[in-house]
C-alpha cells in the first residue's frame, strides 16, 4: 500500500454553523448514504440493471459543495451521479424511478444510472464517459458570463459546480477546460473527488503529480486541497470558491481527498484495494464524523439525529414504492425525445 497523503487539517469553530444548517447537511448526507444502500440492495436482488456506481463514503463532498450553492446554480456530474442529483434537489423518488427505468424517472427512463438529468434543478448530467461533463459544465459557466457581460443581465451570477474523479485529471479535457475557465474568468468550481482509484488503476500509478490541486497553479487558478471526509471543511472551501466565482473572480480547483466504500461499480470485484487501506478510510466515515461533531458542539442530540435517519429511511422506502409502482415508458414513445419540437 502506498503511503497515505497527510490530510490537511481544518479548524472549525462552532460559530460557523447553526444547528439548523448542521442538520441540513446531516440530512443530505444521510439521504445520499441510505439511497445508495437501497440501490445496492435492489441491484443484488436483480431489480436494478446496468452499471451502477455508488457514492458511499464520498457524501461530504456532494453535500459540502452543493449545499453551498443557490438553487439557480448549476451542477454537472459523472457516472457516479445519484447523490449529486439528490443534493441538487432532484426528488429521491424520481432518481429511484430512473434507476428502475420508469417514465417517472428524472430522465423518463431513457437515461439510467449514469445519465441523470433535471432541467428544473439545473442538473446538467450524468455523463458516462470520463471527462466529457467538464466542457459541458464550462458551457453553463460561459453562459452565465455571457448573459452578464454580453447581454448586460446583472442577475446572471449563477455558478457551476463540476464534479469528476482523480482519473479524469489525466484527461485532456481537464487541462483544456481549466485553461479556458481561467482565461475567461468563468464562474465555475472544478471539484475533484480524489478517491484514489480509477477502477483498478491506483492514482499514483496514473499520474506524475498526484497532488491534483497543484495543477491549478499553472493556469493561475487557486487550487485547494481539502479533507473530503469532513463536510465542514469541504463546505468552507466551497463557500469561498463560490463567492469568488459569483463575484466574477474566476474558477477554483478543489481537490477533495476521499474514498469510496464500495467497488467502482456494483459489478467490480474490488480485488486490488488492500484491507488496511479500506479500514483506514472507513474509520474516517464522513457521516459518523459529522455526527460526533454535531453532538460534541451541542448542535444536535442523538434523538434528533435518529429522527432524521428514521425520516430519511421512510423517505427512501417511499421512493422505492413510487419507483416500483410507476409505469414504464410506452413502446409507442420509443422515438420520442430524439429531436426537439417533434
Amino acid at each position: 500500500m502506498v503511503q497515505e497523503r497527510t490530510l490537511p487539517q481544518f479548524q472549525a469553530s462552532p460559530a460557523q454553523l447553526s444547528s439548523e444548517a448542521g442538520l441540513t447537511l446531516y440530512e443530505d448526507m444521510i439521504l445520499g448514504r441510505f439511497f445508495e444502500d437501497k440501490c445496492a440492495e435492489m441491484y443484488y436482488r436483480g431489480k436494478m440493471f446496468g452499471f451502477v456506481h455508488l457514492y458511499n463514503g464520498q457524501e461530504a463532498v456532494s453535500t459540502g459543495v452543493i449545499k453551498s450553492l443557490r438553487a439557480d446554480d448549476y451542477v454537472c456530474s459523472t457516472y457516479r451521479d445519484h447523490v449529486h442529483a439528490l443534493s441538487a434537489g432532484v426528488p429521491a423518488q424520481n432518481v429511484m424511478a430512473e434507476l428502475f427505468g420508469k417514465e417517472t424517472g428524472c430522465s423518463r427512463g431513457r437515461g439510467g444510472s449514469m445519465h441523470l438529468f433535471s432541467q428544473e434543478h439545473n442538473l446538467l448530467g450524468g455523463f458516462a464517459f470520463i471527462g466529457e461533463g467538464i466542457p459541458v459544465a464550462l458551457g453553463a459557466a460561459f453562459q452565465s458570463r455571457y448573459r452578464k457581460d454580453a447581454l448586460g443581465d446583472a442577475s446572471a451570477d449563477q455558478v457551476t459546480a463540476c464534479f469528476f474523479g482523480d482519473g479524469t485529471t489525466n484527461n485532456g479535457q481537464f487541462f483544456e477546460c481549466l485553461n479556458m475557465a481561467a482565461l475567461w474568468k468563468l464562474p465555475i468550481l472544478f471539484v475533484v473527488e480524489n478517491n484514489k482509484w480509477a477502477i483498478g488503476m491506483a492514482h499514483e500509478r496514473a499520474t506524475s503529480q498526484p497532488e491534483i490541486y497543484k495543477k491549478a497553479s499553472v493556469f493561475g487558478m487557486p487550487g485547494v486541497e481539502v479533507d473530503g471526509m469532513d463536510v465542514m471543511a469541504v463546505r468552507s472551501v466551497a463557500q469561498e470558491a463560490v463567492a469568488r466565482a459569483r463575484a466574477g473572480e474566476g474558477p477554483t480547483l478543489l481537490e477533495c481527498l476521499t474514498y469510496r466504500f464500495r467497488g467502482h461499480s456494483l459489478a467490480d470485484p474490488d480485488e486490488l484495494r488492500s484491507k488496511a487501506e479500506k479500514e483506514e478510510w472507513l474509520a474516517r466515515d464522513p457521516i459518523k464524523r459529522f455526527e460526533a461533531y454535531l453532538l460534541e458542539h451541542n448542535l444536535a442530540d442523538e434523538g434528533t439525529l435518529k429522527a432524521i435517519r428514521d425520516r430519511i429511511q421512510t423517505h427512501i422506502d417511499d421512493a422505492l414504492t413510487f419507483a416500483e409502482g410507476s409505469p414504464e415508458p410506452k413502446p409507442d414513445d420509443l422515438y420520442k425525445y430524439i429531436f426537439a419540437d417533434d
Partner: protein, 327 residues
C-alpha cells in the same frame, strides 16, 4: 438583388441571425480577430464583441462540449470548424452529447447549436484536410446534417439551422466559397429537410450534394447535347434524407444514379441505395448506381487526387450506360 459570394452569403446569415437573436454567438479557432479562415465571420467581432464572436484556444473537443453546455442553458452557439476534419477530435462531444443528450435526458434539455465549416476535397490539401465527414456522423441519432451548395441555399439554410432547436452539422465545401449568385434583398429561409430539384427531367434521377452538384451540372450540359434528359436533385439534407422528393422522382424516371464526394464504403450513397431498395424497389428499372470517391486517403498528387473524386465525364458515361439500357 445583389451579387454575393458564397462565403459572404454565410456571413450575412450569421450577421442577420446575431442581430435578430442576442443568444446567438459564434465560437471557434480564429473566428474573431482573424475573421475566420475563409472570412465567413469577417468584422463580426467588431460589431458584436469578443464574447459573441469568441476566439477559442485550439481545443476542439472542449470548446465543442462547451457549446453543448451553453446550448443546454439557453444560448444558441455556432461553432466554426476551421476545417471540418478537425471535428474528429470532437467526435465524442458531437455524438454522445450534442446528438444523444436530448434523448438520454428524456427531453429535459434541447441543444440548439450549429457546427459549420469547410470540408471536401480541395486543391492538393492532403488527406487530413480533404475529408468528408458527413458519412461518419450520419449514424449518430439526434443530429441533423445539411450540405449547402450555392450562395442562395447557403444563406437560407444557415439561417434555418441557427433557428433550429437541434444540433445541426452544416457542411460547406472548401472549393465553393467563391461561387457568386444574385441574392434577394429581402430576408428568406430555406428549409433544412427539403431536397432541391436542380433540373427537372424524365430519363434518370441523379442524386447529389455539395460540390458534386456542380460536377453533375457540368455533365448535364454534355448529356443535353446528346439528347438525354436527366433529373438532378441536390439532397441538401443528408440526415434526414428527403425520400418524399426522391420517391416522386423515381416514380417518374425509374432509374437512379448517386453522385457523391464521400467514400463509397459506408457512405451517404450506401444508405440511400439501401433505403431506395426498402421503399421503391418495385419502381426501379435498373440497379441503383453509385459514383463515389475512392476508398483511399486523399492523395496529395494532383493527378491522383483528381482520380479520387468523381469527374463530370464519368457521370456522363454512367447516365449514357444506364439510360441506353432500354428495358
Amino acid at each position: 438583388m445583389a451579387e454575393t459570394l458564397l462565403f459572404n452569403a454565410l456571413r450575412e446569415a450569421i450577421d442577420e441571425e446575431m442581430g435578430r437573436d442576442e443568444t446567438v454567438f459564434v465560437l471557434g479557432e480564429d473566428v474573431g480577430h482573424y475573421g475566420g479562415s475563409y472570412k465567413v465571420t469577417k468584422d463580426l467581432y467588431d460589431k458584436y464583441g469578443e464574447l459573441r464572436v469568441l476566439d477559442t484556444p485550439i481545443a476542439e473537443n472542449s470548446f465543442t462540449g462547451m457549446a453543448v453546455g451553453a446550448a443546454m442553458t439557453g444560448l444558441r452557439p455556432i461553432i466554426e470548424g476551421m476545417n471540418m476534419g478537425f471535428l474528429l477530435l470532437a467526435f465524442n462531444q458531437i455524438a454522445n452529447n450534442a446528438g444523444m443528450l436530448r434523448y438520454t435526458s428524456g427531453g429535459n434539455f434541447k441543444i440548439p447549436m450549429v457546427i459549420r465549416g469547410p470540408g471536401g476535397v480541395g486543391r492538393q490539401l492532403g488527406a487530413e484536410h480533404s475529408q468528408r465527414l458527413e458519412a461518419y456522423f450520419q449514424a449518430v441519432p439526434g443530429l441533423k446534417i445539411v450540405a449547402c451548395s450555392t450562395p442562395y441555399n447557403a444563406k437560407g439554410l444557415l439561417k434555418s439551422a441557427i433557428r433550429d432547436n437541434n444540433p445541426v452539422l452544416f457542411f460547406e465545401h472548401v472549393l465553393l466559397y467563391n461561387l457568386k449568385e444574385d441574392l434577394p434583398n429581402h430576408e428568406y429561409l430555406v428549409p433544412l429537410d427539403k431536397a432541391e430539384i436542380v433540373r427537372s427531367g424524365k430519363d434518370v434521377t441523379i442524386l447529389t450534394y455539395s460540390r458534386m452538384r456542380h460536377h453533375v451540372t457540368q455533365a448535364v450540359k454534355g448529356l443535353e447535347k446528346n439528347g438525354f434528359d436527366p433529373e438532378v436533385i441536390d439532397l441538401i439534407s443528408l440526415k434526414p434524407i428527403d425520400f418524399e422528393t426522391i420517391g416522386v422522382s423515381i416514380r417518374k424516371t425509374h432509374r437512379v444514379i448517386i453522385v457523391e464526394e464521400c467514400m463509397k464504403t459506408g457512405g451517404i450513397g450506401a444508405e440511400i441505395v439501401a433505403s431506395i431498395n426498402d421503399r421503391f424497389f418495385d419502381e426501379l428499372d435498373a440497379p441503383v448506381v453509385r459514383l463515389s470517391s475512392q476508398d483511399i486517403p486523399t492523395p496529395y498528387n494532383g493527378k491522383l487526387e483528381s482520380l479520387t473524386i468523381v469527374q463530370p465525364k464519368q457521370i456522363e458515361a454512367a447516365v449514357e450506360a444506364m439510360v441506353g439500357l432500354k428495358v
